[in-house]
């Protein structure tokens, strides 16, 4: 699928893994950390306009609402650039959400599109059948100037998940299982195709959780081929015409991994790496001080529903700080209307406006020396959420919610 998309956008009949191609991009994304660098580079072109103000998306989501003066000045760089160049998709605080939840929700992603983002989790959009990959700020600057990017065509690894999805298992558990199996560089420079009966039944939110973490295995992109779930999701969001691209029947995969998930336990990544993965039973009893439910991995409505279902009517453990961060304004509102926020607040959780916040140790929940957190985010590198001697465990929303109540890492069944 990736080869076909890249060939089409490079104006070629066919491309092969390893080929270097120049492609037209349908969308280029930047945030309040990466776009200021890109804007500085863009200025070096001396151009008075961007290649297409409708194909650039700027989202101040990392250190916003502005965490300090320096962050405020960075956000201002973004805002001024957006105004000057009449960037159509600039999302100010109040309309902003975490970029990788926001763009699909706003109908900016469609099957067959090529999307680059100066953010590594841009690979999320492969859940909708697009070729989407994270790049750097210079790439973004060039894309803003001429609407092109260079790529080395990746080989594809196929990941197949079969069996009945057990209770409490979601996309997060499948992707952690996968990264645990192949390691943080197991898919380096590769495209990751997710398929199998379990993926067919997986919701769009669950699929986005999986493609989101392709980068944690070193992947260039992750994707699910478009199906009815995709088209249902796109309905009413994407107005522009598109034609879905599928893998050919004779496609060559570099490798195939198969998983039977029938008896899968919820998965936990131990610090300091997302491939340090164990079933929850082996993490049971680890004491934590903070739980974060949010981020571009697991801050979507389905995640909040799962967490609220576990938490409703209970109280967060007195030693625990539970932070719940809906990923976008629309998700926030939906959670409000569905009574999820009430369940969180009555349980004594702190609920925040959309932001990346603690996920990258930016603000809104930084860890002190020696503290441990359990988070539904995607990275648990040393110091990711605060002090270099703090630690982060990763899980899905069900385990996170249950652990917030228990005060230590537990299986969701234990708090019911």
């Amino acid at each position: 699928m990736v080869e076909k998309i890249l060939a089409a956008k490079a104006g070629k009949d066919k491309v092969l893994p390893g080929d270097l191609v120049n492609v037209r991009v349908d969308l280029a994304l930047g945030n309040d950390i990466t776009a200021p660098v890109a804007i500085k580079e863009f200025e070096r072109f001396g151009l008075d306009r961007v290649f297409d103000p409708e194909k650039i998306v700027l989202v101040p989501d990392h250190f916003t609402p502005n965490k300090d003066i320096a962050a405020a000045e960075q956000a201002m760089v973004l805002r001024c650039f957006a105004e000057k160049h009449a960037i159509k998709h600039y999302y100010e605080v109040g309309r902003m959400g975490i970029e990788h939840a926001l763009l699909p929700e706003q109908g900016l992603i469609w099957p067959g599109a090529v999307i680059i983002g100066a953010d590594s989790h841009t690979c999320t959009y492969g859940a909708l059948g697009a070729f989407a990959t994270g790049v750097g700020s210079t790439d973004l600057a060039v894309a803003m100037a001429i609407g092109e990017a260079w790529f080395k065509v990746p080989a594809t690894i196929r990941f197949e998940y079969n069996g009945l999805m057990p209770r409490w298992i979601g996309g997060k558990d499948l992707i952690l299982l996968t990264i645990g199996r192949i390691g943080v560089e197991g898919a380096r420079y590769r495209a990751m195709e997710f398929t199998g009966t379990a993926i067919e039944k997986l919701s769009m939110d669950g699929r986005m959780t999986m493609t989101n973490m392709a980068i944690e295995a070193g992947g260039k992109c992750g994707y699910v081929q478009p199906d009815q779930t995709t088209f249902d999701y796109l309905e009413g969001r994407v107005t522009q015409p598109y034609s879905a691209v599928y893998s050919d029947d004779d496609v060559v995969y570099e490798q195939t991994f198969s998983f039977d998930i029938t008896d899968l336990e919820p998965q936990i990544a131990f610090p300091p790496s997302p491939d340090n993965v164990y079933p929850v039973s082996e993490a049971a009893g680890i004491e934590i001080q903070q739980v974060v439910i949010g981020s571009c991995t697991n801050g979507r409505i389905e995640d909040l529903r799962v967490a609220a279902a576990v938490i409703k009517g209970k109280k967060v453990h007195p030693r625990i700080r539970l932070l719940v961060i809906p990923a976008t304004q629309r998700i926030y509102l939906q959670a409000l209307e569905e009574g999820l926020l009430t369940a969180f607040i009555e349980a004594e959780a702190a609920v925040s406006t959309p932001t990346c916040g603690p996920c990258l140790g930016g603000h809104m929940g930084i860890l002190a020396r020696g503290e441990k957190a359990l988070a539904t985010t995607n990275r648990n590198f040393t110091g990711r959420m605060g002090h270099p001697e703090s630690e982060v465990y990763l899980s899905g929303p069900a385990v996170a919610a249950a652990s917030a109540i228990a005060g230590k890492i537990v299986h969701p069944e234990e708090v019911l």
């Binding site: 950390i33 300090d68 000045e73 560089e185 990258l360 590198f381 040393t382 270099p388």
Partner: protein, 167 residues
């Protein structure tokens, strides 16, 4: 031809270790360089000198797409990064900003930080250990990437292309 002292790091060095997120509210390479590697070697900014060479194991620069990572390395005056392999976004970012990086399959992890010196021939990918005379061969760049580096980065490369296309 480059020459400098080496600093040796391990496998899977992530961008949060290279430059922690809390310092990302600046884009100035020199300011960033003051926190280079703070996550794993807090005294590094104090000891690193202009021209030094950074050595790493596999998957160097994994994690976020922050171009601040290669920028902080460049800002510290590091002349070249040699690793067994690089994470892909770090790899393209380095090329795009004109920071020379080499993938070398040989094990350089036994070199002594701050003591051993290497001489690097970027065009041929040849690495020579000054004290012992040992020679290592790294993969040279594909011509397209070599051209970007020769231009001083992607922006200059594209500018040159736009100029040549202009009527």
């Amino acid at each position: 031809m480059l020459e400098g002292r080496v600093w040796v790091f391990g496998d899977n060095i992530d961008t949060d270790a290279i430059i922690p997120a809390c310092y990302l509210s600046t884009v100035e390479p020199r300011e960033l360089a003051q926190h280079l590697m703070e996550g794993i070697k807090p005294d590094f900014p104090g000891v690193v000198q202009c021209g030094d060479i950074l050595i790493a194991g596999s998957n160097f620069g994994c994690g976020s797409s922050r171009e601040h990572a290669p920028l902080s390395i460049k800002g510290a005056g590091i002349s070249c990064v040699i690793a067994r392999s690089f994470a892909r976004i770090f790899y393209r970012n380095s090329i795009n900003i004109g920071l020379p990086i080499l993938e070398c399959p040989d094990d350089l992890s036994t070199l002594t930080s701050g003591v051993d010196r290497l001489q690097v021939n970027l065009d041929q990918g040849l690495i020579t250990h000054i004290q012992t005379g040992c020679v290592y061969q790294a993969a040279p760049f594909p011509p397209f990437m070599q051209e970007i580096i020769n231009c001083g980065g992607l922006v200059e490369y594209i500018k040159a292309r736009l100029n040549s296309e202009a009527p």
